[in-house]
Symmetry: C2
Amino acid sequence: MISIVDLQRRIDSGELSADEAIAQSLEAINDQDGMIGAFVCRAEAPRAQSAGRLRGIAVGIKDIIDTSDLPTEMGSPIYRGFQPRADAAVVMMLKRAGATIVGKTSTTAFASLDPSPTLNPRNPNHTPGGSSSGSAAAVAAGMIPLALGTQTGGSVIRPASFCGVAAIKPSFHLVPKVGVKCYSWTLDTLGLFAAGVKDLALALSAITNRSELLTLATVKAPRIGLVTQSFAGAPDEAGAEALRIAAGAAERAGASVRELGLPEIVAEAWRIQPIVQEFEAHQALAWEYRTHHEAMPPILRAKLDETVGLTPADYDAAREIAGRAREALAQVFEGIDILLTLSAPGAAPKGLASTGDARFNRVWTLMGVPCVNVPGYVAEGGLPVGVQIIARHGDDAGAMASARFVEEALRPL
Amino acid sequence: MISIVDLQRRIDSGELSADEAIAQSLEAINDQDGMIGAFVCRAEAPRAQSAGRLRGIAVGIKDIIDTSDLPTEMGSPIYRGFQPRADAAVVMMLKRAGATIVGKTSTTAFASLDPSPTLNPRNPNHTPGGSSSGSAAAVAAGMIPLALGTQTGGSVIRPASFCGVAAIKPSFHLVPKVGVKCYSWTLDTLGLFAAGVKDLALALSAITNRSELLTLATVKAPRIGLVTQSFAGAPDEAGAEALRIAAGAAERAGASVRELGLPEIVAEAWRIQPIVQEFEAHQALAWEYRTHHEAMPPILRAKLDETVGLTPADYDAAREIAGRAREALAQVFEGIDILLTLSAPGAAPKGLASTGDARFNRVWTLMGVPCVNVPGYVAEGGLPVGVQIIARHGDDAGAMASARFVEEALRPL
């Protein structure tokens, strides 16, 4: 994979020009994307910028995020050829930080569950996960050092785990989602994919102009709450193994690790997350669902068909539970620095029929807390399995610092 | 003005067909809009729907709200001819409730302060207010019974006050803003304009599918906190007079009215509201501001130029104050049912150079609480002046019930 930190060091030292860095990414895309299918559209002759902390960094943008000079097709024929007028806020933030947008990456239709044709670069017989399939795959394949995704259930952390890349779903509202196709306004959150945690920190700091996100304070002995999310069911053996390995490595590196039960209200929030998600989706996607019912992707259409009876009262009750769970979770963080848990049930499922299961992600999206995937373990078939580091709302710097600690602890000697 | 309740009664009784109701609105637009300039674009041969609670109701949509079959130009040449692919969520909600979209209404550019050419139907030498200028004017002129606006500072309540129509800015997130051009994601709120409070209740209930908003429980003796918002400066004589008249009428009708000082943190929230607003606008309008600087409307451009130095730290501090003010305001509502305050400093200013001042609105937008304008008084020149009824977050039914009480109390014998 291409490390942003490395690229930046080489550009700063004059060893590599920003133009050469972009050219290398374009070449890697030319070489590999025919096989992987991470990109749905590419910029015409993209050039490096001459200044900015992300100069020379080639970025892929999930194709539900508006771009003023590239179509934005939402992974659906309903949006074929659709050309937004403006760039999404986050695209402008990337450009202002010096980055170069090299193309739009493959997304499941409307960032839901119907698979895109992208293959997993670690093993092409397996899904890369979704919905940010192309972004995770493009970074994993070493085509680009940075990509944008979004998460409503588990659409950033899950594909990162399946593809073996670092990713962050930041605190809700840290990165504005103006110009991003909405599925659920309470849940949708932008996220970043990169080679490692330091690369994420550099990129997130540069686009938000928040220096506190850049300096990953050395965490010597994080207090880690190990969480199995039993309300979400049991993981596969590979998922459990990744968590065991990460917890053991962290403990050996000096962390205190203790298993933690979450308050019952958090489990309840896990159960009602789909109500919030689908009630809002019925409104957010009303035009598509009502006027293009036949053209809707079948898994999404079936999910909306099933949930058409959700009422405002169901939704209000669910939101009330979410509010109480957020308060209870804030209490949990009084005694610990981070939670360590599964990024996904296990390794990427075989085939492209399913993008996998978000059951270990969805409550954290509803809680609005920062989540980082750190690749932790490689299962049979060369399939990576990550672990998820979670901090309190607003503590994105802490989440990344502890994720960096876990990443270092897991590094082969 | 055209009352939705009236129209519905006549349609239900068979006295009027839904088609005739729409035809009357189209005729009224033909007759009057050449002078008022409330519409920027009209639907081609709009037809009534045959079912739905809002069948026969002609609606105008502020032109920052996406429509799949009409351009959406944001009041700016930067968006000339821009055709969204989908309808905004709220447009679909209106259609599903049976309403007929008859056109797009004039907005200040990007819902900011640069005036649109719309005249005030009560007195064409005065501004109709902004930013939802065309929506307020079209309802006030009796062209249509219902219109959609948005409020970031005071863009629903202020034009309603200036034009003498009822309006509600509901609780934050009651009406989804998917497909609405963003200025500030923390503040932007959709609102409705109609002839009277019962018309608002009927429309808001129909589009949200929330029956609790329809039955305006008879409020016999609301406990009213009278608020002058001294932190926002003194009102004009006409504004103060409107508030005196409304408070007196409510008291005579059985309400308990006592003057109330607001906690200092609410005044502080009033002071920092512009920081939240402009910090987010710099991100939401980054593409327009950075790539079309010369084409930006001059007042908005100057405001963005002035605030270009706002930092994430400024913004975080402002949001923290807003959070504390929301908690303090919730406490205020423990002892009262509603707040009664100014809708605007006074009557509509003369000329079209300014759309007036949002200083008596902006803190309530930041608080996310439901606000209703009730026309209260007619000043010199036939210029209406409204008063503002405010309830706790989520109590939209209570806000409308008490607003109805005040409206009745103010009705000439």
